[in-house]
Amino acid sequence: MNYIFFFLIVISIIVGAVNGRLQEVVNSIMSGAELSVKVAFSLIGIMAFWLGIMKVAEQSGLIKFISKCLKPITKVLFDEIPSDSPAIGNIAMNFTANAFGLANAATPFGIKAMEDLQAENKDKTTASNSMCLFLGMNTAGFQLIPTTVLAVLVGIGYKNPTEIIAPTLLVTTIAFISAIILSKMFQRLYKINKEVQDDKHS
């Protein structure tokens, strides 16, 4: 992430200077920073609502119950977290919300799941295997109906907008499965690296 951050900013300044758009680049620092705060603040209300609902679900034992029901699947995918961890229930809620295109509800569920995964994590600043897997699955963006896309297509007078649903679903499924396989592969690669490092230190 250090390199990506450095790369994005340095490239922007160099290319901006060459293109004669340095002023725009500088202005974008201001507007980008403002946008970040707007995005964060726009989350407060909806985040509070869903965190509230989830607290009730947690206290009544519902989240634990969902976790237990999904045990057979999650034992394979998230093999490092205890199968009765509330993380599983929250992950399930996150995917359900995402699948139905409810991004506003999905984010609080996802953050709650990350907090639960963090509780099982030994190094609090480094991502665990389960976190990388969960985020990999999330960034693949599995969705049953692309609601926003459909809205735009209807807006431009697309005759049969629903014909894109099936191909979109196929593509997102491929990406989703690839993310799971990739994260299982990379997690092994990383483990080897880490052991090498540990050996060096000892």
Partner: protein
């Protein structure tokens, strides 16, 4: 099929809310108290992710303002023509993982200028609908719990996006070309 899915989409949240509150009451959970306790966290989470959002959103805003994305699109254009990918899709491919609002804006542009029957519009729709804004997801979720070393999460996100782009092109070619 679609109407069923739309119906489920509409009802899923109300059903979850009713279910959670009813089970809470049945199990004798003080639901109002617990709700407000949980809701308190909303502000904290939103404030906690600000530094991470600023880092990622500023860096990406700068990149978009600099014209680097158009430059990359120009460099890649000759390669993509060979694979039957219209050149106007390129900016969308690049921006998709970086900025959600940016990608939606580009998609609207493509849809409006290419029109409802164009291959570009279909491909762009599939690309946008089938993936997520990887860097936003990483910043928000890791930011919320203070993770700064992302390990393989970044490479998985990028590779999954690439696979998504490639399969979108293949599927679209098969179905609409």
């Amino acid at each position: 099929m679609t109407s069923i899915l739309n119906l489920v989409s509409l009802w899923i949240l109300p059903l979850i809310i009713i279910l959670v509150l009813t089970i809470g009451l049945v199990k004798k959970v003080p639901i109002y108290e617990e709700f407000t306790k949980g809701a308190k966290g909303g502000f904290d989470v939103a404030v906690r992710i600000i530094p991470y959002l600023v880092a990622i959103i500023v860096a990406i805003s700068m990149l978009r303002a600099s014209g680097a994305i158009e430059l990359l699109a120009q460099i890649l254009a000759p390669v993509l023509v060979k694979f039957n990918i219209p050149a106007d899709i390129l900016p969308l491919m690049i921006v998709r993982s970086l900025s959600g609002s940016g990608a939606l804006g580009i998609f609207s542009d493509i849809a409006n200028s290419a029109g409802p029957d164009a291959y570009s519009t279909k491909l762009a729709a599939i690309m946008l609908g089938s993936s997520e804004t990887t860097f936003y997801v990483l910043a928000v979720y890791f930011g919320a719990i203070g993770i700064t070393k992302f390990r393989h999460a970044v490479i998985i996100g990028i590779l999954a996006d690439l696979i998504g782009i490639i399969s979108a092109v293949l599927v679209c070619n098969l179905m609409f070309a």
